[in-house]
């Protein structure tokens, strides 16, 4: 009985090591093939945005300590509003010509509700950011956000094939 237990344990250890090696190998293989999935791109865009804002705002260590948690929460809530609208809007099937009146009303009302929700989040965090940042830096932040979008558009246009 004990021999069986001990031999079973030995057998179980080998699959663990094989599983670890397979996990490492497949992960390395995917990376070697240059698999740049959506999550990876999103991380890089986020990292680009963070370094861009850091460079533009030139916050002191104390300002940065207070600013970033508030800004992160702002971005989370904004993303949540946008994700909800995206799910709702993509759930509508067919084109405007083929949708029923009820569906169209839901779609157009939803667009306005989304805009309002987005503005509510922006207003809420505008008030919070006014308290944690000097006004000039808050203005710089809003400008930097717009500049960042332009930088992204430039990157997209740089890669677009010339006609």
């Amino acid at each position: 009985m004990l021999d069986m237990i001990i031999n079973t344990t030995k057998m179980k250890i080998k699959p663990i090591f094989i599983a670890l090696l397979l996990a490492l190998f497949s992960s390395l293989l995917l990376r070697a093939q240059g698999v740049d999935d959506a999550a990876d791109k999103k991380d890089k865009i986020e990292a680009f945005k963070v370094s861009f804002l850091t460079q533009k705002l030139k916050l002191s260590p104390e300002e940065a300590r207070i600013f970033w948690p508030v800004y992160n929460q702002y971005q989370d809530e904004l993303e949540n509003v946008r994700k909800n609208w995206k799910r709702e809007s993509t759930s509508f099937k067919g084109s405007i010509e083929t949708m029923s009146d009820k569906e169209i009303e839901k779609l157009v009302d939803g667009e306005i509700i989304f805009r309002q929700n987005e503005m509510d989040v922006k207003k809420k965090f505008h008030l919070q950011l006014k308290k944690v940042l000097p006004l000039r830096k808050l203005a710089l932040l809003y400008r930097a956000e717009e500049d960042f979008k332009r930088e992204l558009l430039k990157k997209i246009q740089e890669k677009a094939p010339s006609r």
Binding site: D3, I13, A23, K44, Q73, N80, I156
Partner: protein, 398 residues
């Protein structure tokens, strides 16, 4: 008798998997696949559910007391799952306070291997435990951390008569700056081969997203450094040990102290590990690591589980130094809230990762702390409008 070990194990695992799924892992993904216009809950957690696996092994060394050799191996499977996370805006301090409540658990199989008895009475000891962890960050510089980890450490023959033990930590951490934090507290631990209440005193020097020294007494001292975009290294020194119950073998060779008459014995071990660990992280969801080094100042003791039956002159037996090797992997699931440049949250992650469940004094890499990536702009290849359209309003295109 073995069913009594495995049934609670499977129940705990199934319970844990259900909780992790509800915490935002699998359930969120399934919701996204279904066409449903009901609003999706926003991401609540900073700490994501995680499963980790660790194996550890030493080479055989002479055990002169028994005239044989001794080695030790263990395999540890564990998890933590956030049960509840609360983020609240403190109007007077203008900060976001966070409270994290987690379920933790682990299942460890330990094997002290005495050569003569590999095929006879070498005990396989099971150490299941389930616990709770609470972390409160006040949004400024102070974090409180409490962990309670009850466990049993028994072989299959003594599982009907388990001894419940409690390991716990209460700790205060202050994030002074990006490059410095300190922590003080108390812990009750068995890693020194007995139940000891000890003070905690620790400092961190250097940024958690760079090269940093962690002195976290009495748990570990480590120097951590990035080796590339996906590789990290750590040189460490830490104690390891435990207290385990098993049935006294028919062969008296396991009870080298004369006079042990109890049917249940305690095997206690304590040793110090000095080593190097390299980890590879594939994104923020998966990490694998390998480590090795020296095991020094090794001591073991066998005692009767009943204090009254213990031999008065029982003493720790010194063993030769040896080498060790360990492998491990960590899997994390689901989405988390943003915490980039949130220095206090970085310390929360460091605390949570460096104190793994189960009082086994193991730790996992800080996969959740984003690295500084000043070349991110250059690394954005083949950027399409699809990748960024959520960031744009129609007006941005004019």
């Amino acid at each position: 008798m073995h069913k009594k070990i495995y049934i609670p194990l499977w129940v705990s695992l199934l319970f844990g998997i259900q909780l992790f799924a509800r915490a935002g892992g699998i359930e969120t993904s399934l919701q996204q696949m279904v066409s449903d216009s009901s609003p999706q809950k926003s991401v609540q957690n900073y700490i994501r559910p995680a499963f980790f696996l660790n194996t550890f092994r030493t080479n055989p060394v002479k055990f002169n007391k028994l005239g044989t050799s001794y080695a030790f191996s263990q395999t540890d499977l564990g998890f933590y799952v956030p049960l509840f996370t609360k983020t609240a805006w403190n109007e007077s301090n203008q900060v976001y306070q966070t409270f994290h409540f987690l379920l933790t658990g682990n299942f460890l199989i330990a094997r002290p291997e005495v050569e003569l008895l590999k095929t006879t009475l070498a005990p396989k000891i099971f150490k299941p435990g389930i616990g709770l962890r609470a972390i409160y960050a006040n949004g400024k510089k102070n974090t409180w951390f409490v962990d309670v980890s009850p466990f049993v450490a028994q072989d299959g023959y003594t599982i009907n008569n388990p001894t419940l033990r409690f390991a716990s930590i209460v700790l205060f951490n202050r994030t002074v700056s990006r490059n410095f934090s300190y922590r003080i507290g108390m812990l009750k631990t068995f890693v020194f081969g007995e139940a000891l209440p000890l003070p905690i005193l620790g400092v961190r020097l250097g940024p958690l997203d760079g090269v940093y020294l962690n002195v976290h007494l009495p748990r570990n001292i480590s120097l951590n450094f990035p080796l590339g975009s996906h590789l990290d290294g750590s040189a460490f020194f830490k104690p390891m040990g435990g207290v385990y119950n098993f049935r006294k073998g028919d062969n008296s060779i396991l009870s080298w102290e004369k006079g042990n008459i109890s049917a249940i014995e305690q095997f206690r071990r304590k040793e110090y590990l000095s080593g190097l660990q390299i980890s590879y992280s594939s994104g923020s969801n998966f990490s694998i690591y390998i480590g090795g080094g020296l095991v020094t100042n090794r001591k073991v003791i066998l005692l009767s589980d009943k204090k009254a039956d213990r031999v008065a002159d029982a003493h720790w037996v010194q063993l030769d130094n040896s080498v060790f090797i360990n492998f491990g992997l960590t899997l994390k699931f689901g989405e988390a809230k943003r915490m980039v440049n949130n220095l206090q949250m970085y310390d929360v992650f460091d605390l949570n990762n460096s104190i793994q469940p189960g009082d086994n004094n193991s730790s996992s890499p800080n996969m959740d702390i984003p690295r500084k990536n000043e070349k991110a702009a250059d690394q954005l290849q083949n950027l399409q409008y699809q990748d960024v359209k959520d960031l744009f309003d129609t007006n941005d295109l004019y």
